[in-house]
Symmetry: C2
Subunit: 334 residues, 2 copies
């Protein structure tokens, strides 16, 4: 333990794709735990596409990041000092205080983790918010039925890779698209293709019975093509539209949207934090499926807090396979 702490601040708001100059890595005094607080050393932090939205100065479902202040986001770490009965030194915890090496916060804002033997980093991915996003989006919004076809874009990502596996567990045909031949080759799906090819042809070939549930992560040309292949009464849980996040000006929506009427489609946006009542079901099911070998997952781990901006920028260039995680300090479980 040193007496200095490191944090990543928003230096300026990105115009279009984020770049290194939008971030500052700054050394600060080590925080100290006040009454009812704990001091935590972060071990891993998450970088996620949704953070791009928070870099804009607009009202959304979470407040925008402030220029000159540390960013935040999901992190897991270990308690170093505690002035609360709820936490003890050595406890493994998750929090929203990512993008910094250490933090002090009230114990009520810090969740103790029982790893059930799973690696600590998994609690940022398959057993964390991305995993739960896949779980509630597919099961509660998409409502897949046995024998249906589920199509997932960004299928190699932290969310998408779990969606397809849950779809298969539920007896569906799982089809995914991803951004490179290598990613496609590693997908645990029934069929998959590279979205750079002929979308229409690829959807026709891989979804011969049409699409009943489209788990939407990307927007853009994929969504436009998918409407043509949706079946009657299909469902489209809208998790993200990453293709649009760096647009300087909003781009037009899909020309094919009108098919929502004759096909009686339901398209519904959702945010995982509205569904926290499903957390116990989620952890029980997914931890169980991992233990049974029915769910596997991949991570891309980048080392060093100072590499966090680069890891974040890499999300928009498709540099991750599975969950993109930044390791900040030594993992005490390894």
């Amino acid at each position: 333990m040193t007496d200095r702490s490191l944090e990543v601040r928003l230096a300026s708001r990105p115009a279009g794709e984020p770049e290194a100059a939008n971030f500052d890595v700054v050394e600060t005094d080590m925080p100290s735990a006040g009454e009812g607080q704990a001091l935590v050393r972060n071990v891993y932090m998450s970088v996620d596409p949704y953070m791009r939205g928070r870099m804009r100065d607009i009202k959304s479902y979470t407040p925008p990041f402030q220029i000159g202040k540390a960013l935040d986001g999901g992190a897991v770490g270990v308690v170093e000092e505690s002035n609360s009965d709820a936490l003890a030194p050595g406890d493994l915890v998750s929090s929203r205080f990512g993008w910094r090496s250490h933090f002090a916060a009230p114990a009520v804002e810090i969740q103790k983790i029982d790893t059930h033997g799973a690696p600590l980093s998994a609690f940022l991915g398959v057993l964390g918010m991305p995993g739960m996003t896949a779980y509630v989006g597919l099961l509660d919004i998409g409502e897949p039925k046995e024998g249906e076809t589920v199509f997932v874009s960004a299928a190699a990502g932290a969310v998408g890779s779990l969606v397809g596996q849950i779809a298969k567990i539920k007896g569906c045909r799982a089809v995914g698209s991803a951004g490179s031949a290598d990613k496609v080759a590693h997908l645990v799906y029934d069929a998959a293709f590279d979205y750079h090819g002929d979308l229409n042809r690829n959807l026709a070939d891989t979804c011969p019975d049409g699409i009943d549930v489209y788990f939407e992560n990307v927007g853009g040309p994929t969504l436009e093509a998918v409407f043509l292949h949706m079946n009657m009464f299909g469902r489209i849980p809208v998790c993200g539209m990453i293709a649009h996040y760096n647009d300087k000006e909003p781009r037009p929506g899909p020309k094919t949207l009108i098919s929502i009427i004759p096909k009686r489609l339901k398209m519904q946006g959702f945010i995982v934090s509205d569904h926290m009542d499903r957390r116990a079901d989620f952890v029980r099911d997914v931890a169980g499926w991992i233990a049974e070998g029915k769910v596997t997952y991949r991570e891309t781990i980048v080392s060093g807090l100072e590499k966090a901006p680069e890891a974040f920028m890499g999300l928009f260039r498709g540099e991750n396979t599975g969950k993109m995680v930044v390791q900040i300090s030594d993992d005490p479980t390894k």
Copy 2:
């Protein structure tokens, strides 16, 4: 009764806006009722925007009209001859055999009407398919709650004019848009505006608490603007997108569609014929509301079957207020 019958046929498929040359009005032999059939004289027929879709040669929820064949659609009339125990001469009936002066069909394809004292033409509008479209779209798909704001486009049309009145009955603020100052002035809504003005400004002024339910009839710039005013967890029942029906090439969707995610919106297409289990509820409720004076309605009646193409074309130029109806022969209830 004459020995000649008249019917309107599709002469050619419209490219863009339909024109007179796309229709043929043809005299034919009077049909005769076979075993189990009835001969019906049509009194009123319906022209509806959805018919434009059936003039395209593409698979949709109803088969396309065939060139050289009579068009069809909703009609009400009176039985002239019957070879079925289910129907007797003089019975008032509704059917799908519009666009012709007479028809013979199996009795099972003809529904007897008990008017409950309402005018016969109402069974093509407020007590027919358009009325039921308003009823199931608003109540079952839109799920309005007391105190919410319901915005309706094409609010002066056959469907829209009823949506706003039901919204008010359910304790909502009803706001509508329509295509002329005259139409706006006649709307039985809490607030209304002409869509030719500044959509964004008008929505802000008339929906100061935002929009909870948008009953979508038009698509185009209205839908794009509405997304900016939708409240969290808003619902968008998609009934139609009349602004797009005459497009020769599909036009882009709304730039604002991405707000479906942070606002957790649900957008859902529907077709009234999927909801026939609600017919008894619909007739009971709406007939009751009419009797209580809580629902009023307007019709635009065009006289003469040969004017039906013109009446249909008028829908796309906004020439109707309320339900557009074509009178084909004398109304026996008047």
